[in-house]
Symmetry: D2
Subunit: 130 residues, 4 copies
């Protein structure tokens, strides 16, 4: 079961190589994770005010296969592949039509927003993920 977000490549996303700057795929992946969580009923801004915690990225592995360019409409996916007590792993891909441009594994952990220390993911989130 995979979640999809369509997004456009704008000038801000490109670099002088004429292609999307590599770091920006991490932004695209983050947008898709955010919309996937929202789709499951998890609003991050609200949740932080309620629980005092937030997700942070703890590890990323990304392969860049083909470049995207200005005006491309990408389909960015998010699929949960591991759910632990304190962290999740999400497999993500960026597609242009039926061409896979970029794929990665993103590990996110739950932390206390002030102390920034690892904590258990709130039950209300874990329930919605499974």
């Amino acid at each position: 079961m995979s979640f999809d977000l369509n997004l456009r490549v704008y000038w801000e996303d490109t670099d002088a190589g004429g292609i999307v700057f590599s770091a920006n795929y991490l932004k695209f992946f983050e947008r898709a994770r955010t919309e996937w969580l929202r789709h499951l009923g998890v609003q991050q801004h609200e949740l932080r005010q309620q629980t005092g915690g937030m997700f942070v990225v703890s590890a990323t592995e990304v392969k860049y296969l083909r470049p995207a360019v200005l005006d491309d409409m990408l389909r960015v996916t998010a699929r949960l592949t591991q759910a632990g007590r304190a962290s999740l792993v999400i497999a993500q891909q960026a597609w242009l039509g039926d061409e896979l441009l970029c794929e990665g594994q993103i590990r996110i952990g739950w932390v206390h927003a002030q102390r920034l220390q690892a904590e258990r993911i709130p039950a209300i989130i874990l329930e919605r993920l499974t």
Copy 2:
């Protein structure tokens, strides 16, 4: 009396036009304001923890005269032109050698960091500015 910051143009700063993306000059100007404040003894992160307030940008006027490209070493200036009780105006320029590339006026105001409402700039900052 003007403060100068030298900074390099990296891939992240450019766009598919082969030049620095227009929004990024606001980042360059912000870096120069930050280093100018630091030079005066004002550390923004520390100050927020002490006073609960922070500067936010309230207005910008920028003219883009000539483009900067990858690898350019720019000199970015900051010069205080108005100091009110609640806001400052800083004139800023980006130079490549003796060519002026970009210039603007940036108005920043002091706000309560939680309520985000305008407040008087702390006396300790105003003293250091004058």
Copy 3:
């Protein structure tokens, strides 16, 4: 006659002040201009390959009235207010519901993409604008 683009505020758009970083409204405005041009049948990537030219920003004036935060869904507008031979002025606003957060005037000029010198806007574009 105004064009509207809805866009979400993601983590990438915010800063440690907990609000959208000021430079990022210029990105939002650029996205709205791009979609407005696309709506009129002007695809910038394609056009550059056909004409060898592109739009660049030559001046911006922006007022920041109220902050946007994570998860906000903004409505960003673009409205042509001047159309000259070599440049256009577009009035732009960012709204959250019926609250105006940010507004500005953006001047864009047409340049030769290699030489980066000002040129007349291609007739095919001007026709579609009017």
Copy 4:
């Protein structure tokens, strides 16, 4: 043999979590690679005009250990760990004092700047790397 770049964390680098946004470490790593290449006599903008080629990122693996915050002065390192005919692997780290905040492996490949197809890294670069 490792190359070091000192860089400051500015507002633009942070997000509403109060820490450096994860994607931005890829920008920091890219800046350090650029300065490391420059230190070896390789100027990317110039090289592209001479050879018609450029480096692009083909794979990244990053671990985020501890967060950086506004005003931190980071030391970002670059160390060549593999040099093939068409790609290089660079090990990179971001330090705050003697605390390791973030580390990764970045693979970059050489491509023709127009066709974006993989090519051998020009001899002039490989000589300088070894």
